[in-house]
């Protein structure tokens, strides 16, 4: 087919435009003075995916499967933080590029994807995991391949690794302050402990029991575990009615959570008759439970969406602008948001992307822009943080009624094991 003159001109012009577009990143490069100040050969001595203009990080959560319900918020928060960091010049003058992998709520898949991110993609950091089971599955991979994981969930403690920064609370931070407050406020002496039957609720209740018996001098009148996914709580509710504990301490998770609170309400166990403190209901869970079914119950968390401070206002606004007016932010979502910021601070303090240098530089890093207020990384790679008590409201939010001082993270609590 003969090519006529006009189309040839059009083609060559198009080619020229393309050439200019292709050259744009090259033009942008010399602009980043910071990147010139930190040449790639200096800041990346271990062959990570860091170039003159870009640094690649990984995101490893469950976007599908049963855990997607919880991990979606974390994925969103980490993306928001990374977008914000990129909008303000990136890390050491380099834009952050994300490779997202799906753990699919399956622990071996998590390990496999972690290996892929660390070995094939050579990512500089990974923001990911949610359940303890997934973290335990990837931990050996991170330690062997020397990666860096920012883990957002509050968890049972009893772990510490050079290759992990725990941005959520460990068990003692969340539990002890909450129990102290409720014991004092309600003059509580008897406690009924409830949990879903797996490691986090069991370890947490163990700590709670020790604290109730040894420190608060109270009594545990019942300790009950139900399999994950249980939907019938009638017998348990009758036992609560029989024992009449001053406080019900509940760590029920997942779909069971909804069933538990709906049935409590239907059985007439409401906040005007029974004090209940939970560490497993955030604004995310309230969506499924319905505010009217938990109204008046207490939750102990380090973060509530309703926190009244300028950092949080900005954070909530940005989050809603990006993900819709109706989106809610729970404790873990906020903790996930801290990950990229803490990593940026560590890289800048170390002046390097090298994992060993970041790990060494992390302790002592402070984050003053945290929505929860102020956090600082401890030598044990957990965060100093405050614990708050919130009262559940009908509209699905919490009203904050108490705020502790800054609590030291203590993943291996003596006398609590």
């Amino acid at each position: 087919m003969p090519i006529d003159e006009s189309s040839r001109i059009k083609n060559s012009r198009r080619r020229e435009v393309l050439r200019v577009i292709a050259a744009l990143p090259l033009l942008a490069l010399p602009l980043s003075a910071l990147a010139q100040q930190f040449p790639t050969t200096k800041v990346n001595t271990t062959k990570l995916a860091v170039t003159d203009g870009e640094v690649t990080v990984g995101q490893l959560h469950s976007a599908t499967g049963t855990m997607a319900i919880s991990e979606t918020g974390s994925i969103q928060a980490e993306r928001l933080a990374i977008d914000q960091i990129n909008a303000t010049g990136g890390v050491l003058g380099r834009k952050i590029k994300i490779i997202q992998e799906d753990g699919a709520s399956d622990w071996p898949t998590f390990a496999e994807k972690a290996k892929k991110l660390l070995v094939n993609d050579r990512v500089a950091a990974v923001f990911g995991c949610w359940t303890s089971a997934s973290r335990k599955a990837v931990l050996p991979v991170f330690e062997k391949e020397n990666g860096m994981l920012y883990y957002p969930t509050f968890y049972e403690g009893l772990e510490q690794s050079k290759n992990v920064i725990y941005t959520g609370q460990e068990a003692t931070q969340q539990i002890i302050a909450g129990l102290d407050w409720i014991a004092k406020q309600k003059n509580a002496k008897t406690f009924f402990l409830i949990g879903s039957d797996y490691i986090w609720p069991r370890t947490s209740n163990k700590i709670a029991r020790k604290h109730i018996e040894n420190v608060l001098k109270g009594k545990v009148v019942g300790e009950e575990y139900y399999p994950l996914g249980t939907t019938q709580f009638g017998s348990l509710i009758n036992k609560i009615k029989l024992q009449k504990p001053d406080v019900v301490y509940a760590i029920v998770v997942g779909g069971s959570n909804v069933a538990f609170y709906k049935q409590l309400k239907a059985a007439g166990v409401t906040s005007d008759k029974q004090t209940l403190l939970t560490i497993s209901v955030t604004e995310d869970e309230m969506l499924g439970i319905g505010g009217e079914n938990v109204e008046g119950f207490y939750a102990a968390m380090k973060y509530f969406q309703a926190l009244d401070n300028p950092n949080n206002k900005k954070f909530v606004e940005a989050f809603k602008a990006k993900y819709g007016e109706k989106s809610v932010i729970g404790d873990v979502t906020q903790a996930a948001y801290l990950g990229p910021w803490l990593w940026k601070a560590a890289v800048e303090k170390a002046g390097s992307f090298d994992i060993d240098k970041i790990a060494a530089a992390s302790p002592g890093i402070e984050l003053k822009i945290a929505p929860e207020g102020y956090v600082k990384i401890h030598d044990n790679h957990h965060l100093w943080s405050k614990t708050r008590i919130g009262v559940a409201q009908k509209d699905g939010q919490f009203k904050v009624v108490y705020e502790s001082g800054l609590i030291e993270p203590n993943p291996f609590p003596k006398g609590y094991q």
Partner: protein, 305 residues
């Protein structure tokens, strides 16, 4: 004296609890009982039909609150009807597109319906989001009645109970007192002979499957009062459902009822004296023992395969 009356109150509430668990088990097993019992199809996607019912209720609830708030106390009945219709239609399509190609291949059906359940879960997730949602339930459903000072009987429990009784009654009538029921039972007992005497067995299969799915939809709608609404909510019920149907013995409505009652009472009583996980172990051991002694289930009828 006060201790005694309190003990009585707990006993009454615990008794009601046992009955309420029984009704929940029966309600979720009914749909499966006719699909598995009558057709021998192991429908692993049964839980997802429950989820369809739950999401239908959620849709009706959000539509009501945004367009007709005055209608809020009554929408639930329409949600139940809607749940039945939608689940029925989806069931009809699934039978036509998938199940009918797999009769006489039980293992393949098992795999195919399991795959279907995964597809449906992800479809819910993509449509409604991964997070759980909550239908605003009418206030009259969420309280409790107080026959005496210390007794609370949950209204949602009563509601599920009533619904179960009505549905079971209707199903029994359909199966044992209607032309359609006669055809279903004939097909169950001898498929080839039924075909020979002029029963359109394909049509019977399709309607039976769709009906089972429709009933699952109703159960899903009813369970929004006691449980969660999320992409995987239905799968929480699937194990107990199969347990009930298998223990009851295939092809027997009475067996399903007896088995739901046995499991519910064992579970509820055991839960009162030990914690939930142990109670589950005890219940499952009891079921295993019974099945070892009676592999055909509690009730069974002679079926020519």
């Amino acid at each position: 004296m006060s201790w005694f009356s309190e003990f009585g109150a707990i006993l009454a509430m615990q008794g009601f609890n046992g009955l309420s668990v029984f009704c929940v088990l029966l309600l979720m097993a009914l749909g499966l009982a006719i699909i598995f019992g009558q057709m021998g199809v192991i429908n692993m996607a049964h839980g997802e039909f429950l989820t369809i019912g739950a999401y239908t209720t959620y849709l009706f609830s959000s539509l009501t609150t945004s367009y007709a708030p005055a209608f809020a106390p009554y929408y639930f009945f329409f949600a139940i009807a809607g749940a039945f219709l939608i689940a029925f239609c989806v069931g009809y399509l699934v039978e036509w597109g998938l199940i009918r190609h797999l009769y006489r291949r039980p293992l393949d059906t098992l795999l195919a319906t399991w795959g279907l359940s995964l597809v449906m879960q992800q479809a819910f997730r993509s449509t409604f989001g991964a997070k759980e949602v909550s239908a605003t339930l009418p206030d009259w459903l969420m309280g409790s009645v107080k026959p005496s000072e210390s007794i609370d009987i949950p209204i949602n429990g009563l509601f599920v109970m009533g619904l179960t009784v009505i549905l079971t009654g209707m199903l029994a009538l359909l199966l044992y007192r209607s032309q359609w029921g006669l055809r279903v039972r004939a097909t169950t007992q001898n498929r080839i002979m039924s075909g020979a005497v002029g029963i359109n067995t394909r049509r019977v299969d399709r309607i039976t499957f769709a009906l089972g799915c429709g009933i699952a939809g109703i159960a899903g709608a009813a369970f929004t009062t006691i449980g969660s609404t999320g992409p995987t909510s239905g799968s929480l019920y699937i194990v107990d459902t199969f347990l009930t149907v298998v223990l009851g013995g295939a092809a027997s409505l009475a067996g399903t009822i007896a088995s739901a009652f046995t499991i519910a009472q064992t579970q509820a009583t055991a839960e009162f004296f030990m914690h939930g996980s142990m109670a589950k172990v005890l219940t499952l051991s009891a079921v295993v023992l019974i099945l070892m002694m009676r592999p055909q289930g509690l009730f069974s009828i002679k079926v020519r395969r």
